[in-house]
Homo-oligomer: 321 residues x 2
């Protein structure tokens, strides 16, 4: 295995990727800092998330998925703010690397960056413990960002996509039980798809938004706490995929949907009076499905069964990795 | 030892520090991303530097110095761009922490942040390997940033402060030879002072600038490469402190000044025609001393002795930690 120097990592990142979308970059990689510009009608949005082996992903997963993941988790935060990502700074720390590993990491990072027109403007490479950190900068029209603290009583609670696939995918990786039928769940864990296209439509109507990284239940609670409200969620309305239901018992699938992390879907609230316009607008072009799962209430987080009575948690609440 | 949760770290960072200078922050810590604004006459400047135990500092140094360091290295980059720092995002990764350690880390970070009116706007905390990464954002009047690629033949080469103290300080820590006379050198390593006050005066006249993190020789070479020029440096003009000369033989002190890292002084070039105005302006208020050490030439980096002949390197070139 060829070892790779710090300079080669920067060069590889700089040269092989991120072409044709150097938006507002006056000075990119190559000086003490990057220089960029923000148009006067916009605010700057900044997110920072780091991932570490054994904490955010299991040892031994493919390098491409790690490169994808460290950017994806930040893109998901950017989507949750209703913002457009522009520039990434990457801290790349690894004790040693070989050329093939690096190429795959860069492939995962750059494919996602190019998809969302994100440019790498700086960072740091270290022969240190395995950890990858991204600070992502983006823009949002002034005062149009979507907070998690502005949900109102009566608003409808929506989520994008399916819940629970990623945490089951992770479990399959951890237990080394991958087979042809569970492959898609593993992919859902390895390659989360930040909902940026969806976010730009949602943010025109949403009163609050958060991305689901720690699990729907936990992240909805953050919205409730920040907004000082409660919520009622109908368990039978949770979007659970056929794929997941074919893989584990329904009870476990519900637990995964409620408590499983790593889905990187969006959870958002829509004022009732905007519901019709929102759905018309959202469904007018091809986007991932959305599901109304409940309503913002005055207080507490209540999970309801089909008879509108309190849903009994199985007691086997999903343990997040 | 009390263990500290992720929430407590964020709360401690958020609440105990960084008061009274929330410049242009619309949304700080507490949502998926931070929202800030840039005035129309300014460009955004972004730096990212991470530090890791055993790579950037030896195991066992005080927590306060680590908190200081992870911000200082970024402030130094900001100074080298001629920019004003505003907002920091911190990735805090450590396998376990106790309350006292955390308090000291925060003290080191926040004292320096408050000194330079920098606010913490976000970040991430991880129970992971020891690594601290900061992305610092700042501003510079449009097109007034100082590059390392714009030194011109005939420009004078200056440095701020003294060279070599920090690397000798590190050596003393590594060899555990601290005593009353060498204490100041150790402090120079543990608590680098980013030259932001100096930078704001220098950047009105400088044609190029870089901060000295890897050693004067190595960092000047980066300026030369980026600017496609050479330089002549007079060894007897290198600013070497009495303190360093009292601690090690002159030959070793010269090596430390040339090749020792971690000084975090500025190296910059001043066009000859600006020399008089620059010195008058710079020396009109109380700033760290500056020294002219040479001149930009067409090519090669030539070290000259007192007879203007090539200086013989001792062969004991300083090994950077």
């Amino acid at each position: 295995m060829t070892s790779v120097s710090e300079i080669e990592i920067i060069d590889a990142l700089k040269l092989k990727t991120f072409d044709n979308h150097y938006k507002n970059i006056i000075q990119g990689i190559g000086d003490d800092g990057a220089i960029t510009s923000i148009d006067a009608d916009y605010h700057l949005v900044t997110t920072t998330d780091a991932i570490s082996e054994g904490v955010h992903y299991p040892k031994g997963i493919e390098a491409k998925a790690i490169g994808h993941r460290c950017l994806a988790v930040n893109l998901s935060d950017m989507a949750a703010m209703g913002a457009e990502p522009l520039w990434a700074s990457l801290v790349f720390s690894k004790p040693s690397i070989d050329q093939l590993w690096l190429e795959q990491f860069i492939l995962g990072f750059s494919e996602l960056a190019n998809k969302h027109k994100v440019s790498l403007i700086g960072g740091d490479t270290i022969s240190g413990p395995e950890l990858f950190s991204v600070t992502l900068q983006g823009i949002v029209p002034k005062n149009k960002h979507i907070r998690r603290s502005t949900a109102k009583i009566g608003d409808l609670v929506y989520v994008t996509g399916f819940l629970g696939n990623a945490s089951q995918g992770l479990k399959i990786v951890q237990e080394d039980k991958k087979n042809s039928s569970s492959k898609k769940l593993v992919q859902d864990f390895l390659y989360p798809h930040p909902r940026l296209t969806e976010s730009s439509a949602i943010s025109r109507f949403a009163s609050s938004m958060i991305d689901i990284s720690d699990g729907f239940y936990s992240d909805l609670k953050k919205v409730m706490k920040a907004s000082n409200v409660g919520a009622e969620i109908k368990i039978s309305d949770l979007p659970i995929s056929e794929l997941l239901l074919n893989n584990i018992p329904k009870e476990d699938a519900i637990n995964a949907a409620l408590f499983g992390g790593d889905d990187y879907e969006l959870c958002f609230t829509i004022p009732r009076e905007f519901k019709k316009d929102f759905l018309e607008d959202y469904q007018s072009t091809d986007r991932i499905g959305i599901t109304c799962v409940g309503e913002i209430k005055e207080k507490n987080l209540l999970l309801l069964d089909d008879h509108n009575e309190e849903f009994e948690l199985s007691g086997r609440a999903f343990e997040h990795f």
